[in-house]
Structure formats: structure tokens, C-alpha cells
């Protein structure tokens, strides 16, 4: 998790969603499963229109040396990518027809 845990001033609209500033996929996935659809819809409605702005902001820095506030933005957008499935496709937090199946991410690049 970013040390400052605050987005840059021009992204203050994302501040209510700092709980999604999670560095690893297992953390993000657990939060998705623990969230309600209205919670994720609210997050999506605010964050999705800012996706290109965040990319533009973060691309001012080298990807392997992002300042803390840019890392926070990237983590929030990684969460948005994960939340896009319940919102855009499934209409529920879990993958439909996935029953008891469980797939664990064991190695990933962490920003």
C-alpha cells in the first residue's frame, strides 16, 4: 500500500475509494468478493471516467519508479479492472457458474 495513501489533488474525486488502494491481486479479489454491487457500482461510476486521466498522469513517470500518489492511482485502477467484471458482465461479485472452484494467483508483478 502506498505510504501517503492520497491521490494527487486533481484526483480528489477518487479519495472516497482509497480502500481500493491495494497492491496485490489477492487483496483486491478479497475486497471484490466482500463488496456489494451498489458499492462497486458507485466506485465504478466515479473511477471509470477517470481511467484515461490516470494513465496520462502516471505515464509522466517511469513505471518502475512511480511516486507514491501515482502508485495509489495505479492500485485503484487495478481494482477498477477487477471490478469491471461484476459491473459490466456478471451483475454479481462472483464469477457465475464458478461454484466451488477457486483459482489462486501465486506470482504477479506488483506496482
Amino acid at each position: 500500500m502506498a505510504a501517503t495513501n492520497t491521490p494527487p489533488a486533481e484526483f480528489s474525486d477518487l479519495e472516497p475509494y482509497l480502500a481500493w488502494d491495494l497492491a496485490s491481486e489477492p487483496e483486491r479479489y478479497a475486497k471484490r468478493l466482500a463488496s456489494s454491487m451498489p458499492e462497486m457500482q458507485a466506485f465504478y461510476d466515479v473511477a471509470f471516467p477517470r481511467l484515461n486521466d490516470v494513465i496520462e498522469y502516471c505515464d509522466k513517470f517511469p513505471l518502475d519508479d512511480l511516486p507514491d500518489d501515482a502508485r495509489t492511482l495505479m492500485h485503484i485502477m487495478q481494482s477498477l479492472v477487477l471490478v469491471s467484471f461484476p459491473i459490466e458482465a456478471w451483475k454479481q461479485p462472483r464469477v457465475p457458474d464458478s461454484g466451488a472452484a477457486w483459482v489462486e494467483l501465486i506470482r504477479e508483478p506488483v506496482i
Binding site: A101, W102, E108
Partner: protein
């Protein structure tokens, strides 16, 4: 309504007469005795891929691989030696048989970098080359010559940066085993695709049932329809699935298929997130420079050389599947049986390292999408295992687009039969 030409024999399956066209008996997926025979005849006798060289970046880098598929408790250490070669050893201390390399839990895999291996029990030490270099209180032992007590080696050979091991000291060399299908894809820039996402799942089915699931694309329009918009789902179902090409080079096989051209033709059928990040199940739409700049792909990739090409999938027997995607990335699947009705499924996605936030998020979306699909794929398997296990029905009709399943079960049956009669394949 063939969209793509089939062989003169009339079908892909009949092009390989030894496969037959009769319903396939699935007793091989529910019989515990057959599973024990597979361990001996297949997993102790064939080349098994345990990962890639990028996991061993420097001298002393190592990882362990649990291989219960080859027998209860089997575990191997894979290490980069001082000479720069990759070696494999059984993970057992020569003193009194303790497991040599593990962290908190002896049954969990581990990795790291070290100068030597030291046993937790009595501090016997082994060099990266596997030689016993130190015995605690050596003078207390009786005529023990350290050179007689090195780690027990396991055959270990590389192909295009893929590390394979073989428990059979008499097996033919790896590249002979992999044969022409592998030869045809040598030169693909695997070594530059080092941004990886790895997944693991414990699945309640026979290993071959999950391989079956990923050896045909016939299921895709049905099982995964929720991923598409309604119109796209209807269009895809009506079209059905036909591959561009199949080749059986026993024990291995490959399928070449269309799909996943990027960017998609009709944007109105693409999810909003996919549109913004220009990515999705088939990977990022924009090719990495390394692929853009390739004069041509190796001859074995997109063997029909058609513009509709989307994915090639190789099955390197017994349990490695390699998929190369048109947009310039690849993935591997491994299936490690632990019981007749259980296996561990592993998948790794490999991308060229992203240059910026846009590329990074495009890869993130591809990885996230992959997991959504994999969960659906995994979930059908336990149900299939249970119902085959009832023995109400024993044989199942497989269609021409399921030729790789037919091939997998036949090859496995042949290995087991031959081992039973000759003691080896």
C-alpha cells in the same frame, strides 16, 4: 458448413486412422489402478516441464517443485550452478532422508538464492553442483566417503528456456522427445516475455479431464457466453467452432485456431473496459515492439499462414500446454495429478514487460479476464468427474473438433499398456 478445409481423409480424426472414431472409454479417468499405472508409465518416464529459466536469474537461484504425480512425496530441487548450467536433484538429504530444501511447511514449494544447500536437521551441506561438502562431526561416522553421498541427480534439459526434468535415466534426449512440433516454434522470443502472472488451483477431477477442457474450443461459445454482449453471444453460437488446423505428432499434438484478432471488428460488442484499455481475453490488442519487428514468426506458428489466425496451442505430452496468441504473448498450463480424481492446475501468462501505465493496465485486464474464464472452466470438472464416476455411462462420443482429447486418452492408454508389457515405453 465447413468454414475451413479439412484433410482429404474427410475429417481431422480420420486423417489419423489409429485414433478411430468410436466413443471413447473414460474408465482411465476414474480407475485408481489406472492412475497408479500412469504414475509409473507416464510421470516417471517422460519429460516434465517444471518452469522457465527466468526463475533462475543468477548463480545459486533455485526453486523446488513438488511432484506427487510421479509418486507420493516426490520433490525436486532445480538450481543454477556455478558453471551456469541448470541442474535438478531429488530433494532428500543423504544422511537420514530429511527433506533438504523447504521453508515452514515441508509440502510447500519454495524458491530463493543460496551459496549451498544446508539440511535443517544435522547441517549436512551440499554444493550447488550437488556434492556433499560438509558432515557435522564427520569423525563420528564410519568410513563415510563424502563423494559417495552427493544429492541424487534427476535428468534435466532445456528447450528454448523451458526447463524439463525426467526421472528416467534412460530416457531419450529432450529435443528428440519433443520432436518436430517443438522444432517448428524455436526462435519465438519466449525469453523476452518476462512479465508473468502465475495461478494455481486444486481441482477435484482427473488431470485428463481438465486437459480435455482446454484441448477443445468447441465449448467456448456456450460456457463463456456471459462474457459477451447478448448479440455477440448469439452470433458466436450460430457460427460454432472450427479449428484452422490440427496436427498429431504422437505423443504430442497441436491445434491452430482463428479468433481474437485485434482490434475487434465490431466495437459495439466489446465491453467498455476492454475498449478503453484495448485488451481482453485475447491479450492486449497492440502488439509489443519485439513482435512487430519480427521479420516472420517461426514456421510452426500459424501453420496455415492465414490472416484469421488467433491462437496456436501445443500439447507437449504428458501435461504441458503452450498457447501462443496472435497479439504477441504466450501462456502455459500444467496439470499435476495427485489422485485419480484430483490434480493441481497451474497457469502462467507471459508478456513483454510493459513500458508504461497504459501497457501495464492492458496486461492487468488480460490477466484478470483469464482468471474469470478459468474459474468457469474449472467448475465444470468436478461435476464431470462425479458423473463419470457413477459408471452409468462409460464411453462418450467425441466430435472431430475434439480430436486432441481422443489423442490424449489413446496415447495415455498406449503408454500404460506398453509399460505393463515391457516395463517401459
Amino acid at each position: 458448413m465447413a468454414h475451413f478445409t479439412k484433410p482429404d481423409a474427410g475429417s481431422w480424426t480420420e486423417n489419423y486412422p489409429e485414433l478411430g472414431t468410436a466413443p471413447v472409454d473414460y474408465t482411465d479417468s476414474i480407475d485408481p489402478a489406472f492412475f497408479e499405472a500412469e504414475r509409473e508409465a507416464v510421470f516417471k518416464k517422460t519429460w516434465l516441464n517444471v518452469g522457465r529459466v527466468e526463475r533462475l536469474p543468477r548463480t545459486g537461484s533455485y526453486f523446488t517443485k513438488e511432484l506427487p504425480s510421479a509418486g507420493p512425496g516426490m520433490s525436486v530441487i532445480i538450481v543454477k550452478t556455478k558453471g551456469g548450467s541448470v541442474k535438478a536433484f531429488h530433494n532428500v538429504c543423504r544422511h537420514r532422508g530429511n527433506k533438504l530444501v523447504w521453508n515452514d511447511f515441508p509440502n510447500e514449494e519454495t524458491s530463493g538464492t543460496c551459496r549451498q544447500f544446508t539440511c535443517k536437521y544435522h547441517a549436512w551441506r551440499y554444493s550447488l553442483e550437488g556434492e556433499l561438502t560438509f558432515i557435522q562431526q564427520e569423525g563420528e561416522f564410519f568410513d563415510v566417503d563424502k563423494s559417495d553421498y552427493g544429492l541424487v541427480g534427476v535428468r534435466c534439459e532445456l528447450w528454448e528456456g523451458f526447463i524439463f526434468i525426467n526421472f528416467d535415466q534412460h530416457a531419450k534426449p529432450l529435443t528428440d522427445y519433443l520432436g518436430p512440433l517443438a522444432k517448428g516454434i524455436e526462435g519465438y522470443p519466449f525469453g523476452q516475455m518476462t512479465e508473468t502472472y502465475s495461478y494455481r488451483a486444486e481441482v477435484g477431477s482427473n488431470w485428463k479431464l481438465f486437459m480435455d477442457a482446454f484441448a477443445e474450443f468447441y465449448h467456448a461459445p456456450i460456457l463463456h457466453q456471459g462474457q459477451y454482449t447478448k448479440e455477440e453471444a448469439a452470433k458466436i453460437q450460430k457460427y460454432g467452432f472450427e479449428a484452422l488446423y490440427y496436427e498429431m505428432a504422437s505423443p504430442h499434438a497441436m491445434i491452430s485456431t482463428w479468433g481474437g484478432q485485434s482490434p475487434p471488428v465490431d466495437m459495439s460488442m466489446v465491453k467498455p473496459m476492454d475498449q478503453v484499455l484495448r485488451s481482453g481475453l485475447f491479450g492486449p490488442w497492440d502488439k509489443p515492439e519485439i513482435i512487430e519487428k519480427l521479420a516472420e514468426l517461426p514456421p510452426g506458428i500459424n501453420p496455415k499462414k492465414v490472416p484469421q489466425w488467433g491462437i496456436d496451442e501445443w500439447h507437449f505430452y504428458p501435461n504441458l500446454m503452450l498457447l501462443i496468441w496472435e497479439p504477441g504473448w504466450y501462456l502455459t498450463y500444467h496439470y499435476w495429478p495427485t489422485a485419480v480424481d484430483k490434480h493441481i492446475f497451474e497457469c502462467t501468462l507471459y508478456f513483454v514487460p510493459p513500458k508504461n501505465a497504459r501497457e501495464r493496465l492492458a496486461q492487468e485486464l488480460a490477466a484478470v479476464t483469464f482468471k474469470e474464464y478459468a474459474l468457469q472452466d474449472a467448475n465444470t470438472l468436478e461435476a464431470t468427474q462425479t458423473m463419470i464416476g457413477t459408471k452409468v455411462v462409460n464411453a462418450f462420443p467425441l466430435c472431430d473438433q475434439e480430436i486432441m482429447l481422443r489423442h490424449l486418452h489413446k496415447v495415455t492408454g498406449d503408454y500404460v499398456k506398453e509399460y505393463a508389457s515391457n516395463g517401459r515405453h
